[in-house]
């Protein structure tokens, strides 16, 4: 059984010049926006195999789209009261997972992906039907039709999956006037043709061979020394290979093969650093190329100086770099002097025995 949850207000902001819809629904409607997420969900449902039972959140949150596609939901869960909120999305996704859905299709944007991720994590696979303003997360299909096809192929095939990064605007940074992405977690998505990342690059950004090569190289480099590990699946693989319970979205500090700080704050990092400094490992989050200043503000200018400013090591799979289309990586730590020192050509670790000279601006 496949479950469908629609965020009916997703995508409203885009048509009327807003950067997203989160918290802006009334404003968007006032500007004349017309909801489209339901239509997008209909296209996805039409591409699903006809004999697969469907479950849906009631009303505009799913069941309407199932019926518009000529199908009848085999099971329905609560669909909120019409004024859809993030809580409604979370509860509907969780209810569908608990009702036994093998895969959750969700129609929306990055904010919706984030809500689904918060609700179900990696309990049940999920796949995004692109309907939002912002689509930076790797959990979406290229198009609604592709979402349906991929979901159907997964259900009837060998059910291979991969972890896809869920990325959304970094609210802390936005509050400080700096717009950029933050990693909120990963969803298990069906592996196959039609995922968003594969549209830009045939080998997806979490290419396991490249990630494993990077992790093996970094484990050698870090050795018994001190390292600060930033957010992201590529960096998380280093913690995995060190046999340490490091975080996916937080910042950790390892020393002598042990996890000293988990999900550390700036202050904790500063207190833990000694005269020997630390290797600082970061990876670009989202498709814009931010490596410092978005989603990892704990690695502050003061932390970078205490670690040793020359010890910043950027790791990235070749496919993830390719998605940037040649645009430079970006540092925006909030301190001009620090940014100026970090700008220029960096040696990125892109595999085992593989490095790439890349510009940071």
């Amino acid at each position: 059984m496949i479950g469908l949850v629609v965020n009916p207000v997703a995508g409203l902001g885009g048509a009327v010049g807003l950067k997203g819809t989160d918290g802006m629904v009334d404003e968007a409607l006032a500007r004349g926006a017309v909801p489209r997420a339901g239509e997008r969900a209909v296209l996805a449902v039409r591409a699903l195999p006809a004999d697969v039972p469907l479950a849906a959140a009631a009303g505009a949150m799913g069941a309407d789209a199932v019926r518009a596609a000529g199908r009848e939901p085999a099971l329905m869960v609560d669909g909120g009261d019409g004024a859809t909120t993030a809580d409604d999305t979370r509860r509907a996704a969780l209810d569908l997972a608990e009702a036994g859905c093998e895969l959750i299709l969700f129609a929306g944007g990055d904010g919706t992906a984030r809500d689904v991720c918060a609700a179900i994590g990696d309990r049940v696979p999920a796949l995004g039907v692109p309907a939002g303003v912002k689509i930076q997360s790797a959990a979406f299909a290229e198009s609604p039709r592709r979402a349906g096809e991929l979901a159907g192929a997964w259900l009837t095939g060998r059910r291979r999956e991969r972890a896809a990064e869920v990325v959304d605007l970094d609210e802390e940074a936005v509050g400080a006037g700096r717009v950029g992405p933050r990693l909120y977690g990963t969803l298990r998505v069906p592996l196959g043709p039609g995922l968003v990342a594969s549209a830009k690059s045939p080998s997806h950004d979490e290419d396991p061979a490249a990630v494993n090569g990077i992790a093996a190289r970094m484990v050698e480099r870090i050795g018994d020394g001190t390292a600060i590990l930033g957010p992201g699946t590529t960096v998380a693989a280093i913690g995995r290979d060190l046999d340490l319970e490091t975080t996916l979205v937080g910042v950790d500090l390892v020393r002598g093969g042990a996890l000293v700080l988990r999900d550390a704050s700036e202050q904790e990092l500063l207190e833990a650093l000694d005269g020997d400094g630390a290797t600082v490992v970061v990876t670009p989050i989202g498709g814009q190329g931010f490596v410092l200043g978005r989603g990892n503000q704990q690695i502050s200018p003061a932390v970078l100086r205490a670690a040793g400013i020359g010890r910043l090591t950027v790791v990235a799979t070749p496919a993830k770099l390719a998605v940037l289309g040649g645009r430079p990586l970006i540092v925006d730590t909030g301190d001009d002097a620090t940014d100026a020192e970090l700008r220029g050509w960096h040696r990125l670790v892109t595999g085992y025995d593989e490095e790439t000279i890349y510009r940071v601006e």
């Binding site: 290229e142 198009s143 095939g157 060998r158 291979r160 592996l191 196959g192 043709p193 549209a199 830009k200 690059s201 045939p202 080998s203 070749p318 496919a319 770099l321 390719a322 289309g325 040649g326 220029g344 050509w345 040696r347 892109t350 025995d353 593989e354 490095e355 790439t356 000279i357 890349y358 510009r359």
Partner: protein
């Protein structure tokens, strides 16, 4: 122009599924009684442990059925002899003159055995030696080996020579990095990597080739050398290449030129004048020998005199009027493969160069560049297709295009366009080597073999498919319609778990069959 090609579509079983038990294509006559009485049973020569207990399950088919089977399969392919295939850019598809096929089928070539005594193969040794002299003249370098069986093997050969060179100077441990560019052929990174180097890659700058500053950031006392393609995969020629080689030399490294595809500069520019110490040519690309469906092939590796002692053994030496194989090479990197090179490829390339002469060789490059640029003027008419780098930076023998705009407008991308070309009687068009830095890439290469009519018809097909995509995207997304097979599941190519390179792997993966 509209689709006007209709390919045969046989529902042809596998050969092993054809025929009936006992059916035979040929029944050998039994030996006469006298011979049988005197000849030993051939099986006695085979140790019992190596004998089959049961006969192999060979196909049992009569001759006419067998002939029909293979003719039907041949009707379901699109080869260079039946279709314009310059879409396969970076592979330098060109006409392989049929007269050269007659040459390689002469008994003097066809019946050669690589283990023959030198005295009995003076003719082919002379061909190999003369071909080497020609490649020296074309590249400006001093010695070549014809041993590597592919372009990638030639890059590995050259990387191994770079390693041996630094080892001979006591810097083998220290100089462990090879620089390459992302738009060089992928073997320029994987070859040195296989030879034990760390690879440092340069991204293209705004003009489509790497910036000098990026190279400077890569150079250090660990630099063993650079392995680079020029023009790169994009067809764009790096005008600062002499500066690149100068900087690498100043850092103590060697410069290796990947000239797998030399069609844009043949007879015009040479590796030596650009400052390179080593290079290689794919004889199955630029020098007209057919690709032979992924082999046999030949990657000829060339070096400057001071590196000649590292070449693989044997090399062909001329002593007076006699040609000899020199195996006594104590500094050699060893063998890259058995023997001295694929003789039939050497004969074809030798004949091709002889037929053209120095002026003809240059005309090949001039015509190829003219054809590629004429094609580009036509392809600018394709809706939604654009050149990713400044057009002032004219590519040479191949062009990288992007269909990103068409994809965004219609959902139809480069892979869809490529598939649909088959409906017009053309082979698919190559996208790009990995990684895809240019979104929705296409890279055609109209070599010197193609006529203006060929180019116009191909461009017309591209324009038609793009216009069809704009009118009805599903029509293109579901094509092609008029071919032996329509769409296959390409996902298997990206999934190592589904690769079955040998029957042993197939047995091990029995559980996944039929997925």
């Amino acid at each position: 122009m509209s689709p006007q090609f209709q390919q045969a579509r046989w529902s042809e079983p596998l050969l092993s599924e054809l025929g009936t038990p006992g059916e035979r294509g040929y029944v050998p006559t039994a030996p006469e009684a006298e011979i049988a009485a005197h000849a030993p049973d051939p099986l006695t020569a085979i140790p019992p442990a190596f004998r089959r207990s049961a006969p192999p399950r060979l196909p049992q088919v009569a001759q006419p059925q067998l002939l029909r089977h293979f003719y039907r399969l041949s009707q379901e392919t699109l080869g260079n002899d039946v279709a314009v295939d310059f879409g396969l850019g970076t592979c330098t598809m060109k006409y392989s003159p049929k007269v050269n096929e007659h040459l390689v089928r002469m008994p003097e070539v066809q019946d050669l055995h690589p283990a023959q005594h030198e005295d009995t193969v003076q003719g082919i040794l002379e061909v190999l030696w003369r071909l080497e002299q020609m490649l020296c003249a074309i590249s400006g370098l001093d010695r070549f080996t014809l041993q590597p069986p592919s372009g990638s093997a030639a890059v590995y050969t050259n990387a191994s020579i770079v390693r041996a060179y630094h080892a001979s100077r006591g810097e083998g441990e220290q100089r462990d990095e090879i620089i390459s560019s992302v738009f060089s052929h992928p073997c320029d990174q994987s070859g040195p990597w296989s030879a034990g180097f760390q690879v440092v890659e340069l991204y293209p700058g705004p003009n489509g080739y790497p910036e000098l500053d990026a190279l400077k950031a890569a150079l250090s006392n660990r630099t063993a050398g650079i392995v680079i393609t020029n023009p790169e995969d994009t067809g764009i020629y790096n005008p600062h290449i002499a500066e690149f080689t100068r900087l690498v030399h100043e850092a103590g490294g060697l410069c290796v030129y990947d000239q797998a595809n030399a069609n844009g500069i043949l007879g015009i520019a040479r590796a030596r004048e650009a400052g390179f110490d080593l290079c290689h040519f794919n004889m199955h690309k630029t020098f007209s020998s057919p690709h032979n469906g992924m082999g046999p092939a030949m990657g000829a590796s060339g070096v400057k005199e001071e590196l000649a002692r590292f070449l693989p053994a044997p090399v062909v030496e001329r002593r007076g009027d006699r040609f000899e194989l020199d195996w006594n090479r104590p500094d050699s990197i060893g063998k890259i493969r058995s023997f001295v090179g694929n003789a039939q490829i050497a004969v074809r390339s030798y004949a091709w160069i002889l037929a053209l002469g120095p002026d003809g060789i240059r005309e090949v490059a001039e015509t190829a560049v003219l054809n590629a640029n004429y094609l580009a003027t036509r392809l600018r008419e394709v809706p939604g297709m654009s050149q990713p780098y400044p057009t002032s930076n004219t590519p040479i023998e191949q062009f990288r295009w992007s269909l990103e705009a068409l994809r965004e407008e219609t959902g139809v991308g480069s892979a869809d366009i490529s598939r649909n070309l088959a409906d017009y009687g053309f082979q698919p068009v190559f996208g790009s080597h990995h990684p895809f830095i240019v979104p929705e890439p296409l890279t055609p290469e109209a070599s010197e073999s193609f006529s203006k009519e060929d180019i116009d018809r191909w461009a017309d097909a591209m324009i038609d498919i793009a216009k069809r995509a704009q009118a009805d995207a599903d029509d293109v997304l579901e094509g092609p319609y008029r071919n032996a097979c329509r769409r296959i599941d390409a996902a298997a190519l990206d999934d190592p778990e589904r690769w079955v390179p040998t029957s042993r792997v197939e047995r091990a993966k029995g559980a996944v069959k039929g997925d």
